[in-house]
Subunit: 141 residues, 2 copies
C-alpha cells in the first residue's frame, strides 16, 4: 500500500445543506465528475467528497449509526494569523459553530476549530514552522 490518500468522504445528513455550506457558502468548485448525490471537490492533491451518510455506510457495509466525537479532524492551514481569524468569521457567518475560538496554542501556532453542518471538526491553523509549496500543500521535512 503506497503512502497515498486519494479521497476523504464525509457522510452527510442533508446533502443540499452541505453543498450550501461548502459550495455556495465557501465558493469551492466541485469537479464535473460529481453527481446528484456525490460531490467531489479537488483540493490540490486529495479529493474532498460529500455523500449521504446512510449511503456511505451502506457502501462500506457498516451500520450507519454513530454518535459523539467522530475521532477525526480536518485541518486548513492558513498563511498567517489574520487568515485564521478571517476564515473563522466567514464560516461563522455561514452558520458554522465556532467550537474553539482562535488562540495561541502550545505548539507555537495560532488555531481555532469550527464544526461544519454535520458537526465534523475543522481546525483552522497557522503554523509558523511549516512550509508550503506552490500549490499551498504542506512540505514537511
Amino acid at each position: 500500500m503506497r503512502q497515498k490518500l486519494s479521497v476523504i468522504t464525509l457522510g452527510v445528513k442533508d446533502f443540499n445543506r452541505s453543498l450550501e455550506f461548502y459550495q455556495k457558502g465557501l465558493g469551492w468548485k466541485p469537479s464535473s465528475a460529481s453527481g446528484e448525490e456525490i460531490a467531489f471537490f479537488p483540493m490540490g492533491g486529495v479529493v474532498f467528497a460529500l455523500y449521504p451518510r446512510e449511503k456511505l455506510a451502506e457502501d462500506a457495509t457498516v451500520d450507519p449509526r454513530g454518535s459523539g466525537f467522530s475521532g477525526m479532524t480536518l485541518a486548513y492551514n492558513a498563511k498567517n494569523q489574520a487568515e485564521v481569524d478571517e476564515v473563522l468569521r466567514t464560516v461563522q457567518a455561514l452558520g458554522a459553530k465556532i467550537v474553539k475560538p482562535a488562540q495561541k496554542v502550545f505548539w507555537g501556532g495560532y488555531s481555532g476549530y469550527f464544526a461544519d453542518p454535520d458537526g465534523y471538526l475543522w481546525e483552522v491553523a497557522w503554523n509558523p514552522d511549516w512550509a508550503f509549496d506552490e500549490h499551498d500543500n504542506p512540505v514537511l521535512p
Copy 2:
C-alpha cells in the same frame, strides 16, 4: 477559505499500535516533524496524522466520547484491480479487518473496505474513469 485541506488527523486509542500498523506494517515514512505522540505522514499533498484520541478531543475542546460509525471514510485509489486485491491481502496480514471484500461495484469500479486498528474505514478502490498525475494524485475534470 481557500479550497484546501492540509491535514487529516485520526484520534487513536493506542498510538504505538497505530504506528505499528501504518509505519512498520505498511512502511509509510513519517516526517521528522513528528513527535513523541504525534505522527505526520506526508501523502503527496495532504498530511495524514495520528494523535491520541483523548488529546485530539482536548485540543478541539470537545467531549472525547463517541461510538459507532465515524461518518467519514478515507480512500486509497489503486492502479488496477490486482493492486486492490494486493492491498487488502497486505492489511489483512497486518491484522486489519476486511469489512467489505473487494468486488465490482455499481459505479463501474472495483473496491473493498478495511478497518484500521481503531476501526477507521479505508476504501481501497480502482476507478477506471479517474486519471492521476505524476504524484499519483487524482486529477478530476
